[in-house]
């Protein structure tokens, strides 16, 4: 039996409504990456993580459980899970993330903060008030709960008088730049991805990385947000030979990740197709979305070396 759609969507939506996140990441864990960086709280310009990278270890852990449940007799009992989850946070008990995955996600966010610092960008952070953007609930079409959550996010921005937001992933960029303006009256935030900010600052590399890598574009950056040029400029200036797999740029092939929460088997099959396309042009690939990174990594099983783009950029522009 496949995972029951209504109950699975219900659990995720209940979590957002009750716990402000589709999967419960504690505030302590979500802000751990910023420890010791001395970032100001709030400010006119903020780095907004939307907790996407912080969520990835939990999503990966939960998907392992879901893969086991999918097509098994246990799927029948997810409906009871939804009822219990409203009272006791069982999704937190099911999603126990690996330490290595948590550490690599922390590193990505630190890399991004270092790159922005190197570009001379003055920014603050909202710490425990840096809330999840609601991206998955938007995709799943639970718009009433999404709207209420979007207002919570906006209230925090208003509280800190934020005017400019720098995002770190395509899902959060899309939510804040294209979705929220249709949900919130008088929305006037200026939203840019850190890749756009770095590219417009014309950052110069400190070290030339003489290597080649395939590039896997995110669907949201490529087709919704028109972020296509920036990542290529930054990589090429860093001395990287960027290889384009079949179906890249505006016509990029999706990693399958959006299907993960309801159809983990399909998501993996789909990611394998993309890994095969990438393998034909390079044994390395860069991603710029945490969902793409995790889903492709899972499907690749070590066949290709996948890295978040920030890992290469920090080596080139910050000298390591």
């Amino acid at each position: 039996m496949p995972l029951p759609i209504g109950d699975t969507v219900g659990i995720l939506a209940d979590n957002l409504r009750i716990r402000k996140s589709v999967l419960p990441v504690s505030a302590k864990s979500a802000v751990a990456w910023a420890r010791g960086l001395g970032l100001a709280r709030g400010g006119e310009t903020i780095l907004y993580t939307g907790r996407m990278y912080q969520l990835m270890p939990y999503i990966e852990a939960l998907n392992k459980v879901q893969e086991k449940i999918e097509d098994s007799w246990i799927a029948e009992y997810v409906k009871f899970g939804r009822v219990i989850n409203r009272l006791i946070n069982i999704s937190a008990l099911m999603a126990l993330p690996s330490k290595s995955m948590r550490e690599s996600c922390v590193k990505i966010l630190v890399n991004i903060a270092r790159l922005l610092g190197r570009a001379g960008v003055n920014f603050g952070y909202l710490y425990e008030e840096d809330l999840y953007s609601g991206a998955l609930i938007y995709d799943l079409g639970v718009d009433d709960i999404l709207e209420a959550h979007a207002r919570r996010v906006m209230d925090v921005f208003k509280k800190y008088r934020v005017k400019k937001v720098i995002t770190v992933d395509p899902h959060t960029t899309h939510m804040l730049r294209s979705v929220c303006p249709n949900l919130i009256k008088g929305y006037d935030l200026r939203v840019k991805s850190y890749l756009e900010v770095l590219a417009e600052r014309e950052l110069r590399p400190q070290k030339e990385l003489r290597l080649e890598t395939a590039i896997h574009d995110s669907c949201l950056y490529a087709r919704h947000e028109n972020v296509l040029r920036e990542q290529r400029i930054l990589l090429e200036k860093a001395g990287i030979d960027v290889r384009e797999p079949a179906e890249s740029g505006k016509f990029t092939f999706c990693c399958g990740g959006p299907a993960e929460s309801l159809f983990p088997r399909k998501a993996k099959e789909y990611a394998k197709k993309r890994v095969d396309q990438i393998k034909k042009v390079s044994f390395r690939a860069v991603t710029m979305c945490p969902i793409c990174l995790v889903n492709l990594q899972k499907a690749a099983g070590g066949e290709i070396q996948l890295e978040d783009i920030s890992s290469y950029l920090v080596q080139a522009y910050c000298g390591g």
């Binding site: 759609i5 079409g141 669907c219 159809f263």
Partner: protein
Amino acid sequence: MALVNPGFVEEVRRSDRFNASACMNCGVCSAVCPMGIELLPRKLFRYVLLGVKDRVLEHGEAIYSCLLCKLCEVNCPAQVQIAENVRSLRYYMNKKVFKI
């Protein structure tokens, strides 16, 4: 035999952004769909427009399998807002079927 409910499209339509009627059934979307969902989006949208509610409801898996990747949308010659239309179907299912 399928029952037809002419008011169904109005139940699904939440705003002007639901523009499935612009679809001219050319099939580009089905040809490029990376999920290989033959039903999505054109046949499913046709069921909505015709008001064949039961057919729509029995295809919940297809409705939620769509990745919203928009590969179909950038190739659509009729500028159908496919991803938003699929989201409208999900909203309908969430509300009316799953009571979320």
